[in-house]
Symmetry: C2
Subunit: 156 residues, 2 copies
C-alpha cells in the first residue's frame, strides 16, 4: 500500500481532507482534524504531501456570474478552414473574455468553446462580431445551456 499507477496513494483520511477543501477552501485545518480524528499538524503534513504530489492544483474563489448579470451560457462548435492554425485561433479566442473554455476536439468541429454572456443579444454580438471575425473561422454551431444541472469536480 504505497503508490498507485500514477505515483501517489490517497487513503481515506486524505480523501476526507480533500473533500472538505474541495467544498470550501477556507475550511480550517483544525476543523478537519476534529472531523477525521487526527491532529492538525498531521493534517497539515498531509496537505503538504498532497501539494507536492501535484494533486492539489491550487484554490479559487468562485464567483456567481448571475449576480453580475451574466445569465446566458452557450457552447459553440467552431469550424476552421485550413488557412488558420489551431494555435493561432486559440490566441484570438484568448482575447475574448466571454470565452471561458476552449477545447481542441475530435469530431465535426476543430474547436469547441464555452462562452458566458449577459443575454442573447450579448451572445449574438460575441458570435457575430468577435468569433466570426477571427480569420479562418468559417462557421459556428451554437447550443445554449438553458440550465446547468450538474457542476462538480472529479469524485475523490
Amino acid at each position: 500500500m504505497k503508490v498507485n499507477d500514477n505515483g501517489i496513494y490517497i487513503d481515506g483520511i486524505d480523501k476526507k481532507i480533500l473533500r472538505a477543501l474541495m467544498e470550501d477552501a477556507r475550511t480550517p485545518i483544525l476543523e478537519i482534524a476534529r472531523h477525521v480524528g487526527i491532529s492538525g499538524a498531521a493534517i497539515h503534513q498531509r496537505l503538504k504531501k498532497l501539494e507536492k504530489s501535484g494533486l492539489l492544483a491550487g484554490s479559487k474563489f468562485i464567483i456567481n456570474p448571475k449576480v453580475l448579470g451574466y445569465t446566458t451560457m452557450a457552447f459553440v462548435g467552431v469550424y476552421l478552414d485550413k488557412a488558420i492554425s489551431n494555435p493561432e485561433a486559440v490566441k484570438q479566442l484568448q482575447k475574448i473574455p466571454e470565452v471561458i473554455e476552449c477545447h481542441y476536439t475530435t469530431g465535426n468541429w476543430s474547436i469547441f468553446i464555452k462562452i458566458l454572456t449577459k443575454d442573447n443579444e450579448h451572445l449574438m454580438h460575441v458570435l457575430n462580431s468577435e468569433i466570426q471575425s477571427i480569420k479562418g473561422v468559417s462557421r459556428t454551431e451554437t447550443f445554449i445551456s438553458l440550465q446547468q444541472q450538474i457542476n462538480r469536480q472529479i469524485k475523490i
Copy 2:
C-alpha cells in the same frame, strides 16, 4: 455610484480583491491590502459585503485529475426519447461520478454533458454501460477533448 442593474456595484478595489482570490483563495488579506493600498480591516469588510451580495459563491480547492490518472475529457450530446423526462434523466446522470457537468440545451440534443475518464476504454464503458443504459436515452454523440486550451472564470 451605488448599485448597478443587478443590485451591486463593484469598484476597482473590489475587482483587485476578487482577482487575487479567484486566482488563489488562500491569498492573505494583508497581502491584498498592501497591494491595493488600504488596510486589512477594510479588505475584510469589503469581502463580507461581497459575500452578502451573493457574488462570492464560495471557494474550492482544485485538484488535478491527471494525477489520479483521469486523462480523457469528453463532451456527449444525449438524445432522449419522449418516454423519459429530463429531470429523471438528470437524476440518473447524477449517480455517474464521471459526469461532471450536465446541461439542458437547445439544439439537437436534449442533454449535453461533460465527462472525465481515465482513458478511452473507461470512456467507452461509461458511454455504453452507464449512460446508454439509462432508460430513455436513445443515442449519444461524443466529442473528445484532445486538449483544453482555455479554462477560466468570468472576467472581473
